[in-house]
Amino acid sequence: MEDTGSIVAFWLLAALTLGSALAVVVIRDLIRAVVLLITSFLGVAGLYITLSADFVAVVQVLIYVGAISVLLLFAVMLTPRASRDNAETFFQIPAILLTGLVAFTISLVSLDTDWTVVERGGFEETASAIGESLLDKYVLPFEMAAVLLLVAMLGAIVLVHPEGTEEE
């Protein structure tokens, strides 16, 4: 990625993503936190585009921005106002230390490793290739994912279904 546009786009998107994520951590109000989380997800979607992953970027927007965020909002809304506090537990300081350690370790490994980078351009488009491999090479996981989704959906319904109402 030589062109200036891509470079600028990367840095902007990276800043957006990390900034939003940090804001999610810091902000005490959960509703606002979820909204900021959405911008973070959008930043990630943009980063996917810089990596010429068009299909995944679209899926990211659809599912994370569209579905999961809405789910999270629902969850926040369905709990009382008193529970919308985004505070930390007593575990904050150890968590900061541990998180720093993990970040350091992962970064160290990723920067220290000599990755065999293949010099090539980005994909033309990936949707058709992904579609083909989903129905060819990965057909079994694909079907299992379908079952998983069904089970998760049923499970969620059963879990939240009020007891004793089946017969009514």
């Binding site: 575990f91 150890p94 968590a95 541990l98 350690l101 370790t105 490994v109």
Partner: protein, 673 residues
Amino acid sequence: MLNQIPEGVVWAILFLPFGSFAVISLAALLGLTRPSTGSGRAVWRARLSGYLTMAAIAASFLLSLWALDSVLQEDGARIGFDAHEWVVVGPLRVDIGVTVDGLAAIMLIVVTSVSLLVQFYSQGYMRGDPGYNRYYAFMSLFTGSMLGLVLASNILQLFVFWELVGLCSYLLIGFWFYRDSARRAATKAFVVTRIGDVGFLLAILLIWTRTDQLDIGQIQHLAATGMIGSSVITLFALGLFAGAAGKSAQFPLHVWLPDAMEGPTPVSALIHAATMVVAGVYLVARFFPVFIVSEEAINAVVVVGAITAIMAASLAIVATDIKRVMAYSTISQLGYMMMALGVGAIGAAIFHLFTHAFFKALLFLGAGSVNHATGTFDMRKMGGLARFMPMTFLTTTVAGLALVGVFPLAGFWSKDEILIEAWAEKPLIFWTALAGVFLTAVYVGRMLFLTFGGEYKGGEAPATGSPSPDSSGESAKRTGQASEQGAEAGQAKPHESPWVMLLPLVVLATLAATVGFVNITGGMSDILEGWLPEETHELVAAGEFVLWISVVSVAVGLAGLGLAWAIYSRKVIRAEEVSAALEPLQVLLDRKYYLDELYETVILKGVIMRGAAAALHAWDRYVIDGVVNGLASLMRLSSEKFRLAQAGQAQIYGAAIFIGVVAMIAGVLIANP
């Protein structure tokens, strides 16, 4: 003259009694031998196992005669048969095979003939016993094991039969296992002989690791030609002798034999005359070429033999139980055989074993006959039986005189030969042996006069024998035995035994009187020595006949008998005065030299229980249990602490996971910098 015996026939000698054992056991298992009363046919069927055993042993006896004939043609040299491969494990190769030589052939004759007569006698003695079939099964196995021991060509094979003999003696001594004393005696016999067997086993391991040989002939050859180091030979011989001392009840492992009287009397006769105890003597004789080249080993044999002979004879003088007298007599005579082996007189030793087998079996069967009549083995309750049981009296007297060595009975010839050889080789041993002759005469005389002389003292009423407060506790142990033949016991007048018991007595008496003549020209000794490797011939003792020794030994024997007569029959010297005069000695003898106390109190209770067992107990309790309990306590205490980490909070668990992730990555990075 027959053809030379083929190998299959030799195996048959061995396997006939085993076959009898197998058939009886199988039949007993199938319930075919249930004792039944009623018609004559049923009675006959109930005694079938006895007939079967006798037939098997009689056949073995006849085949043994063939074997002897073959050996005679070879002048006692070995008739070796090719060994058969049995076990091959790595470098260890164990063969199995049979060997017949002069020694083995004579032993075969002794074992089968005595065993045959004992089985015959047992038909009367064991009649009606609920364990009748078991008795004959064990007797077959016992005889077969002994034959296997005699014929073995491989030391490991010999050891197997050796242990089988030990097992059978255990089973037969404890035959009346419902009696506490019998169980104890059986266990004692088993454990004490096992102490010696440890030495035997170590000797086998030693000789195998040093020479890679288990074949007896090869070991003899190597030892005789000096191919084995002298220290190895000495250790090997001493190990063998430890086994032999255990089996042959030599000092200090003799303590089991007097207690072994708990078995049925015919069993005692077999153990003392033909099987068990002579196995030890046979073992030493079999490895005589090994012993003879080691000065230390042969001296150990002679010293132990001498101690045993004198000590056991002195104990026989004070024992009040007629079977115990004979047990000590056997120990003493085995000591003689060991002495003879120790002075290098293998011919004399085995010749004495040969004659001893007959008169000792006779003595025991006579004692059984007396018990049959009086219901007791306590000589103080007998007396005057010569009138009631003339045949028993006559035959027992012949046996007793043969034991003393009165001319021309069998014991005279063999004992005389031992004395002559001892005089020629080791004079000190000669005087010891002569003292033994005197003691032997005293106890034989005492036994005869107490049992058959004087007035009948009433025997013992059935099953009511109250334990007399005898200091040695022998009477207490014996009371159970009073009911051994309860049906016959307690009658007003003792009566003569049935013919089936008397016939073996007569046959044995004839033999006891005459078998001494077979070696009158030294022919038997030649056979017995014919198989020895040439290199050892010059080491074998060869004493010439000396008239004065014979005269002196007979005179000493008669003097002993005279003393016994004076004390116990004429009462010229009162027994009480003698014992009072020899007070400390009397106590010492009553206590059997305190050896039982030494073993039980000092060694068993003191050393083993207080020392070793206590140490093991402490080890078990504080170290083993300590480790186990400590681990458990450690686990409990640490889990008390560690469970606090189970906070039940998912976030802490998550943190733990990532601590683990970081630690693993760090580990990989440190390992591969």
